[in-house]
Point group: D2
Chain length 387, copies 4
């Protein structure tokens, strides 16, 4: 459904968000469920082994599962049928025992999200590395600071990059916090764990351990803070990237020319142009991350014990938010890693009235030692802000 | 990137939004461009024939075009290279002559949108048909009107369906208006038609005719009213559907039970449940249509002669808005076409205080002739409101 | 609740959106209701005169109405009580006869919107005038076209302004269309017109005439296309303005300096700066118009015969969307009307490689007669596109 | 600009968001600035005393400050002029020394936000108290769990309230985290602290202490994570409230009647109706909180050292997000504190097939001891989840 690469998504992220990856996560969740029950002593080890063996992604056709899922409104119902068939009559009852579709789909979504978040965080770390390098290398590359896009007083490019760095570090921290809070989902038909009997809470604990997800306080079928917070963190991370990308685009303007992407995009009509295409794609990705985060936030208002529509809107929104945030981070990283910085041009661009304005504050922007003290301290603080 | 059917999209709509369909639209646009120039006498008929022959979708690999498009940030640049190669050196100059990537991509997007809109409008017509049937069949099926989800006074189910009908008819009209206004795009590198010389405006006219799209007043590379309006119309159509779907979900509540979807969704845990799954999917789709329409609206604020990011965000947003609006319409149609209406239950559900409240207005809801006069007139107006 | 002028709203627009104006619109609606019923012969002329006399805004305290409205969740309930008290026992029954709160509030909102739209459209016309003047005056002021913020090939400032003009004209047309379609609201408790008896439809017709609003096909308590469409048109108009404002901000950059606002904003620290503050405020306003239009679109999904929350969210959203769209238009107009254009700087800024790129297309940007042909035609088309 | 109470905002919150409160916060910030510099030894104690004395909110007319702020695009510039005038020529230089308008406005916004957040958190605590009371009191009030608005299996109302509680506790925690992270803003014209010389970082530290705000790593004029995160937390808190309010509205439906607000809203036409008006207003408020949080998130993409529009859009968005989140919390609290719960009706509403479905899982919903074990444990976990 996405024919052309409007959203740039790195290959490894595409893979962990693929149909295959979702199918694997669904099966991993069913496996964890039966294992947890075996450990809790409510299904036999033999049944658990039989089910776990059947949870082999190679044994199923992801496209077929997707297709069959339409009738029920989600892919778990047909998958459970296929799984039971594969397990055979003896242990079929041990499949999906005590669970509802949403238990499996939500948990699988958290598994997919966790895998994606690791890649996205790595891209963000790459962005932070690039910012830190620029901050260090260009501590004293004097340039015009611009407010409301008007030159204000001098700053340095290193300090600008230090600000970018703080934005990325804070956003990455929030994203890692969200990652640490991803909860397993298990509540049964109505979130009461009723079908698991008194062992319900213990099964939930073991299941979360199996999946390496957080044990929730209570099942969260209709208490959607986790997905909303994840969406918010993804959008904020994408926005921290788009802030950088936007600045790169502005600095790369022909008339300013202070930076350029080395591998700039080709134009079909104007081969001389050096489009900052990675930065441009980062800006585009951020808009999709933000729009889909809004869907996840809207879904918090879920009816009763399971929402009639809000939940169904979440899957595609979460998927796109992960892809777009990862795309924004990867594109921003690529932009910064390929950035050619023209420090001479930066200095030359400073307007004479900016210099005299600075002089009014006692700053000589050509030998700017008297104000670089504060900037040096601030750059150091930014560099130390990294985890 | 969309592994599981979060968004329900009918098969025919999926097809017109597929990679293959986009590739075909891009090639159709290149073909129209060279034909228009042949008609305007600025390229030879031989060149036009050679290029048109090469614009055969079967001759290209859509996935490869997509992949190659990443470097340039859009798929047109590599496609033009492939096309020139296929045409051969003699007529290569006639390929993409005077055009920029955005000319081709925007025009192709309008071709794709037009094809999708016809299918979406057909689904909406199906929704309208179903509403009209319900309005006629249930003119006198008395039920409780509910405001703030409290019973108010009696109404009839036919009149409720008449209200739905008006919403759908108005939304469909706006969507058809948007369809009629879809413009061809041709401006060259900066929207000035400069590379086409004095024949530019005439080529633009002929090109629009070739593509069966509207001739724009001026090229609209960065004047994005058309895409924003299309997004708004799609979201409004999806919303008109979600209004109906939401009412169906509420009426289908176990405690109310006034309607049910015949082919209700199966639950993996509770086979007795009759989930109004089509209505639920319509609600989910609407949220995606709305979120993506917001991206298209945001993209109106485009920098200078071509936006640095806003435009790139549009493709995926337009695609998703089309898919989601179509999904909302198709799911709502399926819900209504399968709707079982329990008129006895409707009448039985009317609370005694609602009846006495009605009596206060001089209405006897059990033999409601004294107020059905107005309702009959209003239902007739709604039915006559159809085009 | 809005202590500082984050959103710039012209004084006359503030006035038509004030508490006083809303109160007047509510009373005007009650007056129209009783008059329509007198004309239809269902209340006496004496009663109508008594009620109409009591519908004097000077006789009520808007703040008190607002305060008292909290208990009922809307201001109509207390206003009707006050109005009945004022009318006295003899004709109290003729007040608000057959109507529900939403009839009055929706109709008053349409009256307020219509008054606001006339002012907003006038501001947009002012923007269009300014664009047209710039398009005519700078037909041949050659400047660099910029795509992805990189210089592409030459264009003229007049042609850029012509593109702005088309965006504004189209947006204004949509807004006027929305204005023409603003419907009166009258349905009674559940939209059935039941309490008005068989005369209901005729009363509705006369009431719409009284209010100079469109007669709706059916009451639209929960069929919210009109407010959603109005929101969309307001957001689109604000966006057409923000497109211009954004370009002004970019052209006003210190390093580019091709335009400046004459009455540029003062800075508390840097008196030399010439901030394009009107353009900046237009950009800010557009974001509020867009966000509030999204609320109006979301409200289309309204439950049953009156929504439980969606409707209540509409009032403030409509109010803010009107204010913000008007603010965007007024600020953009002020920006353009005060715009100093430096045609020499435009020409001087054209990069040498842009010139040689143009030459590759056979264009000599210094004596650009060979490409101004197309641009002249396009400017003329834009100018003729005005109504 | 907000004539009628579309958004319910408690009086105390209105007060801390008033023009007077903003003016006081601006002056408090100027006072903190001069005090910090006196403590750092860069202005004299006499000057600091003179400025601090002049920072008396009673001495200024908030409406006049607002009006005068339009020319500069923000209210700080005229306020500084008035303040300097009041201080007199001797110490005028000590006013606003080293600061830019945004330093004062951002810091004042954080002061206003902190004051508002304390009230909002108190409302949320009230919501949590009410949820906890319901969870305890109705542990064994058996009711139907509903998924996709269909009855599923039995649950208890206490457990439903326990889920609400977890949502509120988590949202309140995030909001308190955001509160703890509200940073002071001080960077001078371009965020470099240049005009404060080498003492810049020390002044920043002391200033943050004076304001009882967090010391930022670097000035955050264009690194807007703090405001975006605050917006996200406000929207999430409002959403947690709207989840509850939505459930209340559904449970209060005439046909379900399991809960009712004691002080239910009056209808102008149907006095018998018991509209759950507090819950309805909470739903309305949430939409505004969400829409304005989106504006704050969009503003992260800020140009260079100060944004041209994004920043200006923030003030009204922050203000409205605070008001709307507070309104959602207060309305939800009022709804729950006035909630009449009909446990008999809950039990009676359970459909026979829900009971037999439950029996299939070995649950006897009429003597539900065998499944209340898990529910009891989960309720206890929710109650212990409170801080």
């Amino acid at each position: 459904m996405n024919p052309f690469p409007a959203i740039f998504v790195p290959d490894d992220l595409s893979e962990v968000l693929s149909e295959r990856a979702w199918l694997a996560a669904l099966l991993e969740t069913e496996r964890a469920l039966v294992n947890a029950q075996a450990l809790a002593g409510v299904v036999s080890a033999a049944a658990a082994t039989a089910v776990a063996d059947a949870c082999d992604p190679e044994a199923y056709d992801a496209a077929e599962v997707a297709r069959a899922g339409r009738a029920a409104g989600n892919p778990v119902e047909p998958l459970v049928r296929m799984l039971r068939e594969r397990v055979g009559p003896e242990h079929a009852d041990a499949v999906h025992r005590g669970a509802t579709s949403q238990d499996i789909l939500d948990s699988a979504a958290m598994v997919v999200a966790r895998n994606a978040l690791r890649l996205i965080a790595a891209e963000l770390d790459g962005v932070a590395d690039a910012c830190a390098s620029l901050a260090s290398a260009h501590r004293r590359s004097v340039m015009a600071a611009r407010t409301l896009l008007q030159q204000a007083v001098p700053t340095t490019f290193g300090y600008k990059a230090a600000g970018w760095l703080v934005g990325i570090v804070d956003a990455t921290r929030l994203l890692r916090d969200a990652d640490d809070r991803l909860p397993a989902q298990l509540g049964g038909a109505a979130g009461t764990l009723a079908a698991l009997g008194a062992e319900g809470p213990e099964v939930l604990r073991l299941y979360a351990v199996e999946l390496d997800l957080r044990e929730p306080v209570v099942p969260w079928h209709a208490i959607r803070a986790p997905t909303a917070a994840l969406g918010g963190a993804l959008a904020a991370a994408a926005a921290a990237c788009a802030k950088i990308a936007g600045d790169v685009i502005l600095l790369a303007q022909t008339e300013i020319g202070e930076v350029a992407e080395r591998d700039a995009g080709r134009s079909s009509t104007m081969p001389h142009k050096r489009n900052p295409i990675s930065a441009v794609l980062a800006v585009a990705c951020e808009r999709h991350a933000r729009a889909n985060a809004a869907i996840l936030l809207e879904s918090v208002t879920a009816e009763h014990e399971r929402a009639a529509g809000a939940w169904h809107a979440e899957w595609h929104a979460l998927q796109t938010a992960l892809a777009a945030a990862g795309g924004a981070a990867a594109a921003t990283r690529r932009s910064l890693e390929s950035l050619e910085v023209d420090a001479d041009r930066m200095r030359a661009n400073i307007a004479s009235e900016t210099l005299s304005e600075a002089a009014r504050f006692g700053i000589d922007a050509r030998t700017p030692d008297d104000y670089l003290g504060a900037v040096d301290v601030l750059i150091d603080r930014a560099l130390e802000h990294r985890p």
